[in-house]
């Protein structure tokens, strides 16, 4: 493993669907710092189908900014750093670009192994096109037809606890074998078996040597125990294989990275798992990344990571799916101006066709931010289905406490003001209690996760540096109260001045108090009866030390869940008012 002494300069590259980002880190005063970032259009898709060009353009931006030569005359990465200061000591890379991996899931029991595999599939870039299980009432021949017509890139077989069911699992394996036999040899999918490990030796004989099968540790080794880590690695390899078939350059990146090229989602999740171990154990850590083709939600509770990669939702080529997963009215309710349903729909379809575009007019920006809110809300609803009991959707409709909440993705990071990004996160996530909103403006999380294995200190140092922007501490009271009724009184005592602020907050208000980045205050909250601010029970008062941020201290007393008025005129006025309240509009 590298250490801070022998790997001072690190270059991280993340190849996304729309953008390829390069981030250069170096040691400054004994701590790792982000030195420069570069961004270029990804070139994994048409017309180039070669990720290298986007990578080189992103790296070239870093060279322009820093003057540091990263590649030699042959366009090869200079590693390690030369005596002239060219090159880097370490290179890490992640990727989410490339086609979705069409996957058929074959499992034993819907609520057990199949459920585990479904969770696994939803935490990475798989496009689940068919699910077959033992209780499936279709005839075997119809199941075979379904597998063949699904044209899978990957068949994932799970089922049977270790030492458990064998016959039924082998019946499923036989079914898969027959179906695979019908698929032209050049198009045969990779098969991953992550079921009863006692069957592993028989698989070679049963499936035959001419099939591409990988045996991974059982995803459900015992009835109440799930082990997805190793199977995820096998899936990662399958995804890498599929994308390498469709675009070149991944192999070169992998070579530069010393064989550690990983999936963006895996690296992203790793950072949040780490954060949940160092932040308040009572709360989870939440990350939301709104990409062009995917939306990732990483929630981690004391090291228990629940990662969701929503391959249907995004603000680029996938944006039109919001019409299926939600509806136009739900998107339009976030707008501060009136717009016809047809114009909104046209906007969405045009955006899907031109995913790289950026809004240059205030109206276009409002449309994009409205979509951002709804995508976050819908992705979070889906992600929460797999959260631990007590925090999942079945247990509670309101968001469980999370600290911090880190947002990233093009629309958030490019938002022209911190208030605008904060409001989109508040509306989409609707946090409860006291939390901190953080923006990852350079989309560093995945790169930090990728680097964590080689240089653990880098993640720690960069997370503590100013590369992540704290938007501010948010207090979100929860409870029933009429609009305008007092829900809490507060006192804010800044540590660096004697100008205390005291006041009361009424239901429906969105209030920002001045508390700049780097400043701390003691905050005393006295909620009214029935109102919970996260001190253990409704009505319970308390005090805590809070940090400032780019927006300030935000008190969001608009209610949970946040319900917007039915009257369009009132709703438009409110949306406009909230933008002013949070400092996103003058």
């Amino acid at each position: 493993m590298s250490t801070i002494l022998d790997a001072e300069t690190l270059l991280a590259v993340d190849v996304g669907t729309v953008n390829t980002r390069a981030s250069l880190f170096d040691v400054v005063d004994g701590r790792y710092r982000l030195i420069a970032t570069g961004r270029a259009p990804s070139t994994a898709a048409a017309p180039l189908y070669d990720v290298s060009e986007g990578v080189r353009l992103a790296m070239d931006q870093i060279r322009t900014v820093t003057g540091r030569q990263l590649v030699d005359e042959s366009d090869l990465l200079i590693m390690p750093v030369t005596s002239q200061g060219s090159g880097v000591d370490l290179f890490v890379a992640t990727g989410s670009a490339g086609p979705k991996v069409r996957t058929v899931l074959v499992g034993l029991m819907p609520g057990v192994s199949t459920a585990s595999a479904l969770r696994m599939a939803e935490s990475t870039y798989l496009d689940l096109v068919e699910v077959v299980n033992l209780l499936d009432r279709r005839k075997d021949e119809d199941k075979i037809s379904a597998i063949v017509s699904a044209q899978p890139d990957l068949i994932l077989i799970v089922g049977g606890t270790d030492g458990g069911a064998q016959t039924s699992v082998m019946q499923l394996v036989d079914l898969v074998t027959m179906a695979t036999e019908l698929i032209p040899r050049s198009q045969r999918p990779r098969i991953i078996f992550a079921g009863n490990q006692e069957l592993a030796p028989q698989l070679g004989q049963r499936i035959g040597e001419h099939y591409d099968i990988a045996v991974a540790p059982n995803a459900r080794p015992r009835l109440h125990h799930e082990n997805l880590t190793q199977a995820r690695l096998a899936i990662g390899e399958a995804i890498a294989e599929v994308r390498s078939k469709r675009a070149t350059g991944f192999d070169e990146l992998d070579q530069w990275a010393g064989g550690t090229l990983g999936l963006t989602a895996d690296a992203y999740g790793r950072v949040f798992r780490y954060l949940s171990r160092i932040y308040d154990p009572e709360k989870g850590v939440l990350g939301i990344d709104v990409g062009a083709a995917h939306t990732m939600v990483a929630a981690s509770f004391e090291g228990d990571l629940r990662l969701s990669v929503d391959t249907e939702l995004g603000l680029g080529s996938a944006v039109h799916n919001i019409l299926r997963r939600s509806n136009l009215e739900r998107v339009m309710r976030w707008l501060p101006f009136e717009i016809s349903v047809s114009r909104m729909r046209d906007y969405i379809f045009n955006k899907a066709m031109n995913p790289t575009t950026v809004p240059t007019t205030p109206d276009d920006l409002a449309l994009e931010m409205a979509l951002t809110r709804e995508v976050i809300r819908v992705a979070l609803l889906k992600a929460r289905e797999s959260w631990p009991r007590g925090k999942d959707l079945a247990s509670t409709w309101v968001m469980p406490p999370a600290e911090p909440i880190i947002g990233s993705g093009g629309s958030l990071s490019r938002a022209p003001s911190a208030g605008m990004a904060a409001l989109a996160l508040l509306d989409g996530v609707q946090p409860t209690g006291v939390t901190t909103l953080v923006l990852d403006p350079h989309n560093l999380s995945a790169s930090l996760g990728a680097a964590a294995g080689a240089v653990p200190l880098l993640s720690v140092h960069v997370l503590e540096s100013g590369s992540y922007v704290s938007l501010g501490t948010v207090v979100s009271p929860v409870g029933q109260a009429r609009a305008g009724r007092r829900v809490l009184t507060l006192r804010l005592e800044p540590e660096d001045s004697n100008e205390d602020i005291a006041g009361e907050i009424r239901m429906g208000q969105l209030v920002v108090l001045p508390l700049g980045q780097g400043s701390y205050s003691r905050l005393t909250l006295r909620p009214e009866r029935g109102i919970d601010v996260g001190f253990g029970a409704p009505g319970k008062a308390g005090a805590l030390r809070v940090a400032g941020g780019a927006v300030g201290l935000i008190i969001d007393a608009r209610g949970r869940p946040l319900e917007l008025p039915d009257d369009p005129a009132v709703r438009l006025e409110l949306n406009d008012q909230w933008l002013r309240d949070i400092g996103a509009k003058e």
Binding site: L48, D174, F349, T361, D364, P416
Partner: protein, 355 residues
């Protein structure tokens, strides 16, 4: 610094070489040879798709043990069978047999079971435009080349067709109206600026038109166009956007000629653009269009976002400094000379090359 470029290039060319690979969904048979001339409607390859499968349990069918079943099977994997052909048996005094339930192919024989693949639907791959076959892999793909005008669109309803072009309306801003459609347009490919309701599209169906090429239409017409028997191709996008002047000019200058429309798939399939090809003879070889074009002075672009949505212009200069826009967004930009509007700064992300 490396040259910047935009990967989003839309070809709108009055004369170019068009080379397209046509691909069967599964391997099948290729029905053309290299150097063979083909017409748009010619079948160049075909394959069976969506085949139904029959799982025949021989032991159960014959009433014998599982271990005994294999020796009664009378066919081998890969063998073709007709409906009613004996697959296994006869066995016993009643001479029980298992017969093929359909015409097809024995796909798998394994552990006393037979998997039969019945004949599927015949999928026929057509050339799409007149040209010459320049390559094939022998089982799944055929590459065709032609010279002519190429107008790439941004959206299509997934249908392919070929017909004679007729312009409807007075210009690229004009909408398709029912009162413009009469029997004189029967069997034609209609070119119009836009269409804002479904009635003209339905009327066009009654006239058996062979296709409609528009600048734009509202996105709520997507479900309507998906049910139409003819291709609908959009050159600009959704909403009310006139067809760009370059594309409209190419169409109008070729009125009366035949155009092949490949209205492609639905929303963006990487690398596959819906397009119109107007085959034209060429006295000399013409080069293939560039897929990657550097951002530099003189390059023609189309703007993809308001306030200049749909406008076509030419890059005057690549700006060195980041530009701030009324939305507050800051972006690397170019100065574009827009036809009839003067010059304006536009983020590079909001451009596509129109070449």
């Amino acid at each position: 610094m490396s040259e910047m470029y935009i990967t989003s290039v839309t070809h709108v060319l009055p004369m170019t070489t068009i080379r397209r690979q046509r691909l069967l969904p599964v391997p099948g048979s290729i029905t053309v040879r290299v150097n063979e001339k083909v017409q748009a409607a010619d079948v160049i390859a075909q394959a069976e798709v969506n085949a139904r499968h029959y799982f025949l349990d021989i032991a159960r069918g014959l009433g014998v043990s599982v271990s005994e079943a294999p020796r009664h099977i009378r066919c081998q994997a890969g063998e073709r069978v007709e409906a009613g052909d004996v697959i296994a048996g006869p066995v016993g005094v009643t001479r029980r047999t298992v017969r093929s339930p359909a015409e097809g192919r024995v796909a798998v024989v394994q552990d006393g079971k037979v998997l039969l693949e019945a004949r599927g639907e015949l999928f026929q791959l057509r050339a799409g435009f007149p040209g010459v076959v320049i390559g094939t892999d022998g089982s799944q793909s055929v590459t065709i080349e032609a010279s002519g005008a190429l107008i790439q669109g941004v959206w299509g309803n997934g249908v392919q067709e070929f017909g004679v072009m007729r312009v409807v309306g007075d210009g690229p801003n004009d909408g398709l109206q029912t009162n413009q459609l009469d029997v004189n347009l029967r069997g034609a490919v209609l070119i119009a600026g836009m269409c804002d309701h479904s009635a003209p599209l339905h009327q066009a169906t009654e006239l058996s038109v062979r296709g409609v090429i528009l600048g734009s239409m509202p996105s709520d017409l997507i479900p309507v166009t998906r049910r139409l028997p003819y291709p609908v191709l959009l050159t600009e996008g959704f909403g009310q956007r006139p067809m760009n002047s370059v594309a409209f000019g190419i169409f109008t200058s070729n009125v009366g000629r035949e155009v092949a429309i490949d209205a492609g798939g639905a929303l963006p399939q990487p690398g596959q653009r819906p397009e119109a090809v107007i085959p034209l003879p060429s006295s000399r070889p013409v080069s293939l269009p560039d897929d990657v074009v550097p951002i530099k002075r003189g390059v023609r672009v189309r703007i993809l976002k308001p306030p200049y949505l749909g406008e076509v212009g030419v890059i005057k200069q690549v700006l060195k400094n980041i530009v701030s826009y009324p939305s507050g967004i800051r972006s690397r930009s170019v100065e574009v000379e827009i036809e009839g509007l003067g010059s304006a700064n536009v983020p590079i992300e909001n451009l596509e090359i129109l070449q």
